[in-house]
Amino acid sequence: MSLAFLSNLSSPPLLFFFLGAAAVAARSDLEIPNQIAKFLSIYLLFAIGFKGGVALAEATFSSTILLTLATAMALSALLPLVCFMVLRRKLPVADAAATAATYGSVSAVTFVTAAGYLDVMNIDWGGHMVAAMALMESPAIIVGLLLYRRYSGDADQPMEAFSWSSLLREACLNGSIFLIVGSMLIGWISGPAGMSQIGSFVNELFLGVLCLFLLDMGIVAARRLQDLRSNPAALAIIVPAALLLPLFNGAVGLLAAWVLQLSEGDALLLVILSASASYIAVPAAMRLVLPQANPGTYLPMSLAVTFPFNILLGIPLYHAAVKLVLP
C-alpha cells in the first residue's frame, strides 16, 4: 500500500497539484488564465466521456451494469441523509442541507483523475461508470432540498423564485454533466471507428492536460484554504467534516461495491464517486434553490479540503481498501 501511495504521489499530475499550491504559498504570480482552465476541464470531460462510451460500445451488456447504475443513484440519494443528520448539529439547517447535497453528489474532475490513475496502473474500468457518475449528480440535490424543507420550519411558506423545473435543469443539465454524458453517448454511437479518428487526441494528451489542470486546481484550492485561515471558528468544524465525510461516504461506497462484487477498477470508481463532493454543479444549483445556505461553508469544504484529500491520499487509500475487500 505504501508503494501505491508513493507512486501516486510521485506521478506528474499530483506533483503539479503540489506545484500550484506551492506557488500560492510562495506568493508567486503563477496563474492559469480562467478560460484556459475551463478549456482544460472541457477537454478532460470530453476525453473521459468519449473513452467511456467507446468502452461501453465494446462491452457486452450485463445485469451487473444495470445494478451498478441503480446502486449509484441510490447512493447519491441516501448518502446526504446521514451527512445531514451529522452536520445539522453543528451548522444551520440550510448549510447542513446544502453540504449534504454537495457530498452526496460527485466531482467529475476527481472521477477523471481516478480514471487516469487506473489507466496508468493498467487496471480496466467499465465505460458505464461514466453513466454512473452522471446519475449520481442530481438525486443528492433533490434530497438536500427536501431535507431543508422538512427541517427548516418554513416548508409551507412558498419558496421565492423556486421552481422544480429550474431545479431539475440545474441538477441534470449542468454543463459538465451534459458534456461528459454527451461525449459518452457519442463514443457509444461512433464506437471503435470513432476512436480510430480521434483516438490520439483523446488518449495521448490526457495525462499532460491533467497535469496542467491540476496545476490550476492546486492554485485555486490553496487560495481558498488561505481564505479559510482568516476564519478559525468555521475552520474547526469545516476541516474535520471535510476530511471525515469522504471517508465515511467512501466506506459506504465500498460496501456497495462489495455487495455487487464489482471488478477492481469499477469498485475504485464507485468508491471515489461516493467519497467525492461536487464543487461545480451542486454549488451552482444551491444558489438557485437554497439561497439561504452560505456558499462560504460548503464550497471551500469540497474545493479546498475534500478535493485535494481525495486525489492525493484518497485514491491510493481507497485502492488499497478495494484490494483488501475485493480480492
Binding site: V220, I280, R287, P295
Partner: protein
Amino acid sequence: MKACQRIEIVVESPIASQVIDLLRELGIGGYTMLPEIRGEGDRGERRADELTGDSSNCLFIIACEKPELVEQLTSQVRPLLSRSGGVCLVSEAQWLRH
C-alpha cells in the same frame, strides 16, 4: 440629449441570469453586461479564478429614463444584494438620442 438615470449593479455571476430575468420582466429593454470581473467586499475576495462563476462578479449598466422603473428595479434588486452581496449605484446622466 435626454436626462436619464444610470444604474450600475455588481452581483456575483451565478445570479446574473436572475438579474436579466428581472430586467425583462420589468420591461427594461436594454442593458449592458460585463462578465467575469473581480472584486472584494464583506463576503471576501472574488478572484474570478474558478471554473464556474462561483468567485466572480458581473457588472450591469442600465440607462433608464423612467424614474418609476428605476424604483421598481432597485426595490427588486435589494433582496438579491442582501442575500449574496454586491452593490447598486444610481446616478444622473444625459442619454444621447439617436
